[in-house]
């Protein structure tokens, strides 16, 4: 499923990476431990987290993730926004909590298969 469809269905706010929304999302990964994301996320996963530290951008690049959804209406740090712009990585915001976002994304992706 394309990232832009997910953004529409989950009503996500696009903070950065506007021109990278055509990418294909294979699955999601929900975690707030960056060491765990490095160890276990897969390429093209859409990452759901409440961490807003700038290291999330480096981890997403390292693992070739399709984007990051920051949940609970948390504001990313300024450095994080700056890095995401530099890397042209889709950084998305949701007012909902990780449980809801993950549940909805799971449903969207599994229904499609």
């Amino acid at each position: 499923m394309k990232l832009k469809e997910i953004i529409e269905k989950l009503q996500l706010k696009v903070l950065t990476g506007q021109d990278k929304l055509d990418v294909e999302v294979t699955s999601g990964y929900t975690s707030d431990l960056l060491s765990d994301v490095i160890a276990n996320s897969k390429e093209s996963n859409l990452w759901i987290t409440l961490q807003t530290h700038q290291n999330i951008i480096a981890v997403a690049k390292l693992k070739d993730l399709s984007g990051i959804i920051i949940v609970n209406n948390r504001e990313p740090d300024e450095d994080t926004l700056k890095k995401a712009k530099e890397e042209n990585l889709p950084l998305l915001g949701s007012e909902e909590m990780a449980f809801e976002v993950s549940g909805k994304l799971y449903e969207l992706i599994s229904l499609k298969d």
């Binding site: 707030d32 431990l33 960056l34 060491s35 994301v37 490095i38 961490q51 807003t52 530290h53 700038q54 290291n55 480096a58 981890v59 740090d77 450095d79």
Partner: protein, 243 residues
């Protein structure tokens, strides 16, 4: 003249909910004496309310006590703050208390006992000390430095509440003075695995008297002060880490 000092810079007291009353001023100092530790750092979770009691209790002993705190950042990274002056530890505490939401549940987390140097219970802290502040890590380090303290990332080799566990790697914009490792690995391993750019300190993270001094760092210093340790971490004026 410079001489070696054995320092255990990360010790909890009965104020931390995860400890018992045996981590009282006497309990801690007796154990430190037994292990021939010269310097101890008092680092309760998000509070420095027992630091002065230990400092006062140590006055007639040959042990240097640093008032301090183990602060939990917004990212849930634990970082140690150590000072020479109790006033500065208490100033950090003001910043922390201002941004530390929640109330302690003694049943769930344990009691947070405030004591004096005579082992008398003065009261119970009702803040959620085990919780996280809403202060970003970078800002906490800036505050610590503005108060002449040193900032050390806690137990970086552990998965939970460490800078590596929470943030995956050490961000390059941080001005950490050192990285602390648990007794589980050696400084050489830590340098290889995590970063060659920072000095490595070893501490016990003691929650029980018997833990005190199980792991420690040896420094070559003139006196047992934070100012001297700051020099040693930078290899200045002959001061240094000798592990």
């Amino acid at each position: 003249m410079l001489r070696p000092f054995k320092a255990d810079l990360h010790i909890h007291t009965c104020l931390s909910p995860c400890t018992e009353l045996d981590m009282s001023p006497k309990g801690i100092l007796k154990a430190a004496k037994k292990k021939e530790i010269d310097i101890i750092g008092i680092c309760d979770h998000n509070s420095s309310e027992n630091s002065l009691a230990i400092m006062n209790a140590a006055k007639k002993m040959n042990i240097n006590v640093f008032p301090g705190m183990e602060v939990t950042s917004q990212e849930e990274v634990h970082v140690l703050a150590l000072f020479d002056e109790i006033e500065n530890a208490l100033k950090l505490q003001e910043h922390v208390y201002d941004k530390l939401p929640g109330e302690n549940d003694e049943e769930a987390f344990g009691k947070q006992v405030i004591v004096n140097e005579k082992e008398e219970v003065l009261g119970f802290n009702n803040k959620l000390l085990i919780g996280a502040t809403t202060i970003p890590l970078e800002k906490i380090i800036k505050i610590i430095h503005s108060l002449d303290g040193i900032a050390i990332a806690s137990h970086i080799d552990r998965e939970s509440f460490s800078i590596i566990g929470q943030l995956g790697f050490i961000p390059d914009n941080l001005e950490l003075d050192a990285l602390e490792i648990s007794p589980a690995i050696t400084p050489e391993e830590a340098k290889k695995r995590y970063s060659k750019d920072y000095p490595i300190t070893c501490s016990s993270d003691a929650h029980y008297p018997d833990d005190i001094g199980k792991s420690f760092t040896s420094f070559l210093l003139k006196d047992g002060t934070v100012a001297e340790i700051k020099k040693a971490l930078k290899n200045e004026d002959g001061r240094k880490l000798i592990h």
